[in-house]
């Protein structure tokens, strides 16, 4: 199967958008997963619900909310523009933001499960052997939770590759800037006589998503999460 240069560009843009999204959201997802797994506080249920919102909201509503918050006149959007000169509107960075928000709940779920599955008594053992809290985290907790953390990343990546509704609502459908794989497929479908292009792009989508899903399941199984506990 041979892709045209224009089609390669679409695939490359999709990978850039998703790769950036997952890398940028990773520390936030892990931090939230840690808080939900380990801390007790008032409003935990609310935080949990807000994180999961993108999973159940119509994506177009998520996109609209992003528009309000991260748009040029949105409070968060203005903050980013003023402090680090980062804007999201009609740019690939906005597509990455939409992808990150949509991937977040899946990542937090997988990582929270993997953190909860770490035997805290092992951390106690490490402390009595002379390891401080940070060393215990990096040498015991994180390595034991790592398969689940990677599974969460891969799962989030698969989700973000397929992101459509929030992206097109938030940053529109601009060739070379925000036209990722699903948007390109949608656009191509609007024109007659492009079945071959659609088929090729669709196959690429299937390969990327399926590959990521399989990797995430394998990792989850290896971490012991797989025994009756799926991340989905």
């Amino acid at each position: 199967m041979i892709l045209s240069p224009a089609e390669w560009e679409i695939v490359a843009l999709s990978l850039k958008v998703s790769g950036t999204a997952i890398t940028a959201i990773l520390p936030i997802a892990f931090g939230l997963a840690w808080i939900l797994a380990r801390k007790r506080f008032a409003g935990k249920v609310v935080l949990d619900a807000v994180i999961h919102l993108p999973l159940v909201l119509p994506p177009v509503v998520t996109g609209w909310l992003l528009l309000i918050l991260f748009g040029i006149n949105g409070p968060v959007g203005r903050f980013f523009a003023d402090t680090v000169g980062l804007t999201f509107m009609f740019r690939w960075t906005g597509a990455a933001l939409a992808a990150a928000v949509m991937a977040l709940p899946l990542m937090v779920r997988a990582m929270r499960l993997s953190i909860e599955s770490v035997d805290r008594r092992l951390e106690g053992a490490a402390r009595t052997l002379g390891a401080g809290p940070w060393r215990t985290f990096f040498e015991i907790t994180l390595p034991l939770a790592l398969p689940g953390v990677i599974a969460g990343m891969v799962l989030g990546f698969a989700r973000s590759i397929g992101e459509f509704g929030a992206t097109i609502t938030f940053v529109s459908n601009i060739p070379g800037e925000t036209r990722t794989l699903p948007l390109a497929i949608y656009t191509t479908l609007q024109l007659p006589g492009n079945e071959a292009v659609v088929t090729r792009l669709a196959i690429i989508s299937v390969i990327l998503s399926l590959g990521a899903l399989v990797i995430s399941e394998v990792l989850a199984r290896r971490s012991g999460l797989g025994r009756g506990r799926h991340v989905l």
Partner: protein
Amino acid sequence: MSFEIDILIHRGGRKISGDFKTPAGLTALFGPSGAGKTSLLDAIAGLLRPDRGRIAVGGMVLFDSEAGINLKPERRACGYVFQDSRLFPHRSVTDNLLFGWRLVPEERRWIVPDVAVEFLGIGHLLDRMPSTLSGGEAQRVAIGRALLSGPRFLLMDEPLSSLDAGRREEIMGVIERIRDELRLPILYVSHDRAEVERLADQIIPIHAK
């Protein structure tokens, strides 16, 4: 005096209290399951904060609620052997043994890895992963890991309870040698009378409240 304990712990509506002083050697805390013996050991190790009281071992104060002293677990130089060996599952036997050894300052080390491995007879296990060890093997590695961390005293929480008769005998021999040859103060928790009578220099009964 080895252990000087006078603490009160509230746990889930229960009160656990420990008030005793021990001479050198091995002291057994003896009592039924659920009497709070493990909580007492956890408090001495620093894994659980008592509500009030004082803990000193060998003259060093580890916890004193009135003086506001509460040493972190990693500062207590305590060798803790758990009921379940609690070996780190993602690390080899060697890496488990050396976990504490690598962290402890040189002047506090009093046994080198080769000697500990010889003493415990675990030379043939060094490259294995913990999941492949039998209960007795895992417990010997756990004892070695604790000894190599340069402890000033040992806490042992029913180290024989998960073992069959043959393995119990073997680990009991190891504990007797630690008591007699290494001369570490040991606090030993058990609910088995025969085990306690054989090992302990002093027995302190702990009752459920």
